[in-house]
C-alpha cells in the first residue's frame, strides 16, 4: 500500500547517532576477541565473564551430542499478511535477516541427544530480527512441543527475544496464547520443559512460553523483563535499581530457579535430564 510508505528522510532526521562498537569487543571490559577465540570460549569473555550473544546453531552444537541434531520445521517461514511497511517493507527486512543470519526464522527446532538422552531443542536466535516472535516462530515452537510429546522426550527451550514481531500486528500477539496452548498440552502429557533464558528475554516471549518451564534458568547478566528499563524509565520516571530486570534481580525475586553460566549449562541440563528420565 503506497500511502503507508513514508519519506525516508524521517530515518535520517530522527535516527539517534549510533556508536559503532565491534560485536567482538566486550561491552563490559573492552577486551577484544577474534571469532575463533570466542567460539572456543562459548562466546564468554575470558577476562570478565560477560556472556556475548550466542547464535542458535553454535548453541545447538554445544548442547547436542556431535551429529545428533536433526532440524525440523525448517521450511516454516514468515508471511506478510499486513503488507507491513514502516521505514522499509517487512518482506525486505525478512530477506535481509535471512541473508545475514543464514536462518529461515528466529528459532531453530529439532531433535537431538545430550549425553545419549533424547531431547527436543528449540533455540532462539537474537540475530534474526531481534529474536522477535511472529507467526512462524509461534508455529515452530508449537511443533517442537508436539514433537516432544509425540516422542515423549523433554523439551529444552532457549529464549532470546525482544518480544512479539510488530510487523505482523495482532497476529504476533496471538502467538502468546498459541504457544501457551502448546505448552499446556506438553504439561498435560507430563513432558518436562526446561527453559534457558539468554539475554534478552523480554515482552511477548517472557509473557508466554518462556515463563512456563518446569525448571527455568538464566544466563548471568541477561535482561529478563516484560517491559525494558528504557520504557519503564520513560513512562514512570521511576528511579531504576542498578540491576533492574537483570537475571540476578529476577533470581532474588523468585522468578528463576538458578543462574547458570554458559560453561556449566550442559552439565546442569544433563543433571535434569537424568532426574526426569523415566525409571
Amino acid at each position: 500500500m503506497t500511502e503507508a510508505r513514508i519519506d525516508v528522510q524521517v530515518e535520517h532526521r530522527h535516527a539517534p547517532p549510533v556508536e559503532q562498537k565491534h560485536p567482538n569487543t566486550c561491552p563490559k571490559c573492552g577486551s577484544h576477541y577474534r571469532d575463533d577465540e570466542l567460539d572456543a570460549a562459548l562466546w564468554v569473555c575470558g577476562h570478565c565473564g560477560h556472556h556475548f550473544p550466542m547464535r542458535a546453531r553454535a548453541r545447538i552444537a554445544w548442547y547436542a551430542d556431535p551429529g545428533s541434531f536433526v532440524e525440523e520445521a525448517a521450511g516454516v517461514r514468515s508471511d506478510d499478511p499486513l503488507e507491513f511497511f514502516d521505514l522499509r517493507p517487512y518482506a525486505e527486512r525478512l530477506a535481509e535477516a535471512e541473508l545475514n543470519t543464514g536462518l529461515g526464522e528466529a528459532i531453530v527446532v529439532g531433535q537431538a541427544a545430550m549425553d545419549g538422552h533424547p531431547v527436543q531443542l528449540a533455540v532462539m536466535d537474537f540475530a534474526f530480527m531481534g529474536g522477535s516472535m511472529g507467526s512462524a516462530v509461534g508455529e515452530k515452537l508449537s511443533r517442537a512441543c508436539d514433537a516432544a510429546v509425540e516422542r515423549s522426550v523433554p523439551l529444552v527451550a532457549v529464549t532470546s527475544s525482544g518480544g512479539a514481531r510488530m510487523q505482523e500486528g495482532i497476529l504476533s500477539l496471538m502467538q502468546l496464547p498459541k504457544t501457551v496452548c502448546a505448552i499446556e498440552d506438553l504439561h498435560e502429557a507430563r513432558v518436562p520443559l526446561f527453559v534457558v533464558m539468554a539475554h534478552p528475554t523480554t515482552a511477548g516471549v517472557l509473557a508466554s512460553f518462556a515463563s512456563l518451564g518446569d525448571v527455568t534458568i538464566a544466563e548471568p547478566g541477561a535482561l529478563i523483563a516484560f517491559t525494558g528499563p528504557r520504557v519503564v524509565q520513560q513512562t514512570t520516571r521511576e528511579k531504576l535499581p542498578d540491576d533492574f530486570g537483570l537475571a540476578e534481580q529476577n533470581l532474588r525475586f523468585g522468578h528463576l530457579d538458578a543462574i547458570v553460566p554458559r560453561a556449566d549449562q550442559r552439565a546442569y541440563l544433563l543433571r535434569l535430564l537424568r532426574l526426569f528420565a523415566p525409571a
Partner: protein
C-alpha cells in the same frame, strides 16, 4: 499519497491496461486481475482515517468502563477484591453477578473517571497482582460452573519497577495458561483498548468479541511509532500500518464477532452500549452452552493454536 489518490491511480492503471493493443501471447489479463483485486480490497478496507478514529474513540474519556457495564447488565453484583497474596489491584476488577438469572464471573479492566481514580487504578494498567486476582476468581468460576465474561480495556500491563519485580511477564503467561484450562464457557470482549500482552492475558476465550470502535493490538500506536519510525509522533502512520481496528481483527480471525455501538460511539449512550453488549454476550453464551467442558477446552486450544499466517 491519500487513499483516494491511490484508488484513482489504480483505476488509471487498470483502464490503461484494458486499452493496450494486445499482442498475441501477451499476459496483461493477469496484471489487470491483480489490480481489480487490489481495488476491490481497497474499497472494502477500513481507511487509515477510520482506523485512527477507532483509536481515538477506544480511548475516549467518556467511554463506558467495565463497572459501567456491570451496573447495567448484571443483577446481584458482588465485587471480589484482592489476590490473597499481596494486593488488590484497582486496574483489574473481578466479581460475580447474575446475567439474566444466570450466575457469571466477570473480570475486567477499569480505568478511572477522574484524576484521583485514574491514579488509584493506574489508568487501567494491571500489576501482576491484578492478573493473580483474575486467575483466582476465574478458578472460582470453573469450580462452580459459572461462565466467565472478560471485559478488556487496558493500554497494557503496568510498566513499572515493582511490576517487574513482582513478575509481570510470568503473571501474564500464567493467566493465559489458566484460561486454557477452564472447563466453563468463556467470552471476552474488547471494550476499549486491547493493549498487547496485558490485554491478551485475560482474552484467551472461547469467543472473543470486539466492540465496533475498540482496538486490539500488539503495541500502542505510539510505542510502535517510537520503535519503528523512531518518533512517537508518527502514531497515526503506525496505526495505519498495523491495523488495530475491529474490522481487520475480524478479517484476520483474531476476533469472532463485532459488537455494535450506539451511533457515534459507546460514549454517547452508555445504556444503549450496555444493551448491545449484553445481547452479544447472551448470544455467545447460548452457543457455548451446547458444548461440554472437555470439548470447550479442546476447541479453545485448537482455535488459538491455529492462529497466525506463515509460509
Amino acid at each position: 499519497m491519500s487513499s483516494d489518490e491511490h484508488e484513482l491511480n489504480l483505476r488509471q492503471r487498470l483502464s490503461g491496461l484494458s486499452r493496450l493493443p494486445l499482442l498475441r501471447g501477451a499476459r496483461v489479463s493477469g496484471e489487470a486481475e491483480r489490480l481489480e483485486q487490489q481495488l476491490a480490497r481497497l474499497q472494502a478496507e477500513t481507511s487509515d482515517e477510520e482506523i485512527w478514529r477507532s483509536v481515538e474513540l477506544a480511548r475516549h474519556p467518556d467511554r463506558p468502563y467495565t463497572l459501567d457495564y456491570v451496573e447495567r447488565m448484571l443483577d446481584d453484583w458482588v465485587e471480589l477484591h484482592g489476590d490473597r497474596g499481596r494486593a488488590d489491584d484497582g486496574a483489574m476488577v473481578t466479581g460475580i453477578g447474575s446475567l439474566d438469572g444466570r450466575t457469571v464471573v466477570v473480570i475486567g479492566n477499569q480505568k478511572g473517571r477522574d484524576v484521583k481514580e485514574r491514579i488509584a487504578r493506574q489508568f487501567g494498567m494491571p500489576y501482576p497482582e491484578g492478573y493473580v486476582k483474575a486467575m483466582r476468581v476465574m478458578e472460582i468460576g470453573a469450580r462452580f460452573g459459572f461462565p466467565i465474561v472478560s471485559l478488556v480495556d487496558t493500554p497494557g500491563a503496568y510498566p513499572g519497577v515493582a511490576a517487574e519485580q513482582h513478575g509481570q511477564g510470568g503473571a501474564i503467561a500464567r493467566s493465559q495458561a489458566t484460561m486454557v484450562r477452564l472447563g466453563v464457557p468463556t467470552i471476552a470482549c474488547i471494550i476499549g483498548e486491547g493493549g498487547s500482552g496485558g490485554a491478551v492475558a485475560i482474552a484467551v476465550c472461547d469467543r472473543v468479541l470486539m466492540q465496533e470502535n475498540a482496538i486490539y493490538s500488539v503495541i500502542t500506536p505510539e510505542g510502535c511509532a517510537a520503535i519503528l519510525w523512531r518518533d512517537a509522533g508518527e502514531a497515526k502512520k503506525a496505526a495505519a500500518a498495523f491495523k488495530p481496528d475491529a474490522r481487520h481483527c475480524l478479517d484476520l480471525g483474531v476476533v469472532d464477532g463485532i459488537v455494535p455501538e450506539p451511533p457515534g460511539g459507546a460514549q454517547t449512550d452508555h445504556d444503549e452500549a450496555a444493551r448491545l453488549l449484553k445481547a452479544a454476550l447472551a448470544e455467545s453464551l447460548e452457543e457455548l452452552d451446547q458444548t461440554d467442558a472437555e470439548d470447550l477446552v479442546r476447541r479453545r486450544r485448537a482455535k488459538f493454536r491455529g492462529m497466525g499466517v506463515f509460509a
